[in-house]
Symmetry: C2
Subunit: 361 residues, 2 copies
């Protein structure tokens, strides 16, 4: 156990969105570190909550099914917590276009409900919040550091930005310590695999594992920064444990750009199935596509000494291994075939046909 990880031994820790992708991975690590862990999850359909995610620690955590917008529940649950990892949120960019009011409600009112519970019932709680690189919108210069403009291109990103501003304000004005992370595309075990509304890496992996077409938009040269979830969990634990984190905003990522074609080919290579195919951008996608992004992680590296450790290939292998063993808990072949068929027929019906990409590996 690293020194900073001892901060959590015997401590009360609340995780909102605790049955989701990041929350469940964090919960498992915190249980190993000896924390008393409470998970809050509202199990909204299409979101990431899955009771199987916490299977390894199911008897060693307290699970509370409630919504972060439920102030009474938050007031009660937060009153005796030392750490609040606030991970719950609406995370689908697509859904935020269809229902922008839902984003405001979950991401802003939900965060406010958590913060008000801290202010009123437990101002000594430390709040660790995960925002998104989407807050930057299109990158003005690369890599993107924390001082870059925040010209968010969707309600999802704007509501995350507003939540971040609230966390920082409660830290400064109300003395509720808070730290905000702007995280890049994260992938790994325990991510939902039911649909492609968010989480492109995991979705590519499902398609490849089902030997489907992995669709590469445009010419596949757009670059992103793909972070393995274990590295993210290391960062969350480090950030929460260090007093100098609070009041700060940190980028999280690898700092290494990878283009979508490389990603798709690597996924098919690791899965030993699937194949990449180019598809044109939809009009809607084109409007909100922010272009290249990779993070400047110099701040968290110099202030806290965090470094990501997992290469993309290694991370993909570990993700693949997880779903190879536990696939039935994440998607059924029936769904996959149906979704795949739908996907293929959509591709075939396009005016612009798709172009076969040479299979990697």
């Amino acid at each position: 156990m690293k020194r900073h990880e001892e901060s959590y031994r015997g401590k009360n820790v609340l995780i909102t969105g605790g049955l989701g992708f990041i929350g469940s991975n964090l919960a498992i690590r915190l249980v190993e570190l000896g924390a008393n862990v409470t998970l809050v999850d509202s199990m909204l359909p299409l979101y990431g909550g899955n009771t199987f995610n916490i299977h390894p620690v199911r008897n060693r955590v307290r699970v509370n099914f409630s919504d972060i917008r439920d102030s009474a529940s938050m007031n009660y649950l937060i009153q005796d917590q030392e750490y609040v990892f606030h991970l719950a949120g609406q995370v689908s960019h697509v859904d935020s276009i269809l229902d922008p009011f839902g984003d405001v409600d979950i991401n802003i009112n939900g965060t406010l409900s958590v913060l008000e519970a801290c202010r009123k019932r437990n101002p000594r709680a430390k709040v660790i919040f995960t925002g998104t690189r989407g807050q930057y919108g299109s990158s003005v210069k690369l890599p993107v550091d924390e001082n870059a403009p925040t010209n968010a291109k969707g309600i999802y990103a704007i509501t995350n930005l507003a939540a971040e501003k609230m966390i920082m304000m409660y830290n400064e004005v109300h003395g509720v310590r808070g730290v905000c992370l702007r995280i890049t595309n994260t992938y790994g075990p325990r991510h939902q695999m039911k649909h492609n509304r968010y989480g492109v890496v995991n979705w590519f992996l499902r398609l490849a594992m089902d030997d489907e077409i992995v669709p590469i938009m445009g010419d596949g040269t757009i670059q992103r920064d793909f972070l393995f979830v274990d590295d993210l969990i290391d960062a969350l634990l480090l950030v929460g444990s260090r007093e100098e984190s609070f009041g700060e905003i940190f980028n999280l990522g690898t700092g290494v750009p990878t283009d979508f074609l490389t990603l798709g080919e690597l996924v098919c290579h690791v899965a030993e199935s699937g194949r990449c195919s180019f598809v044109p951008f939809s009009e809607e996608r084109k409007q909100v596509e922010p272009g290249h992004y990779y993070a400047d992680i110099g701040k968290i590296r110099s202030v806290l000494g965090w470094e990501p450790k997992t290469s993309l290939e290694e991370g993909l292998r570990r993700t693949y291994e997880y779903y190879r063993k536990h696939k039935s808990h994440y998607w059924t072949q029936e769904n996959a075939t149906k979704d795949g068929a739908r996907h293929r027929s959509r591709l075939d019906n396009r005016d612009l046909g798709h172009q076969r990409v040479a299979r990697a590996g």
Copy 2:
């Protein structure tokens, strides 16, 4: 009539918050310019809506009592508008501490409801939004330009910032043209005079006109930028009429710093009554007090050629003249005396007594 003002002749213009301070002053000017003006106001108690505000044009505008959060109403009202001046909002910093969820609902969901109405029913509408200098929080350097960090110190300012981000995003992504103004403390005729939750200059004037104590917090050296409402209306009309405004954020102010003691003394001088007295900052006030602010107005000056024209003394005189004639529509002597008495007794009960300030003029 100036050339740009001709843009409004015969055009349909909607003003949200239309019976309030800025909305009513704008409505009167637009009627003079020959626009077809519709005013939306929900007449929330303690807000600025007052039917007397539009007395001079009462038969030449359409008044619609509804809430900007009422999407059905917005969808219907916005469908045939060329210009939407979106001025409605929760504007009290004090109230945002007591009820932060109310701010989110009015300022964020309300703005979203206006924007969705444009997107769905009338994407050619031009939206002019008034935010606040509060979005900057404490000034990092003075004067403050539009690129300064936005470390808002309260929910009121954060919700305005989120609304601004939404306007800019709908402009960029959905093609609904929008422009955002970050306006400084504005004063003038038609501001509510019932309470001191917002609008310090008008409140000082009421106290002075009632020959009450004008409370100067701390040592009165904190500087602000006080803008006369007619200059603001000029800016709104100019900004709305020029295609190059859209997609931009502009500061509005005078660029001239004035400290609170100077303001208080000038107000008493103009009113020929009242007197200034120092009072200590409350703890709550101290936490959220952002310190000095005055705007760098170089951007709107160079892009659109706007300049404020009214000196503080001139603006105060015109404001005083308005309330001297129409005071009975804004506050009653009975209220004033009661409020004044309450105010005095609160001062007298403080541990730190207040200190008489030499009367200006």
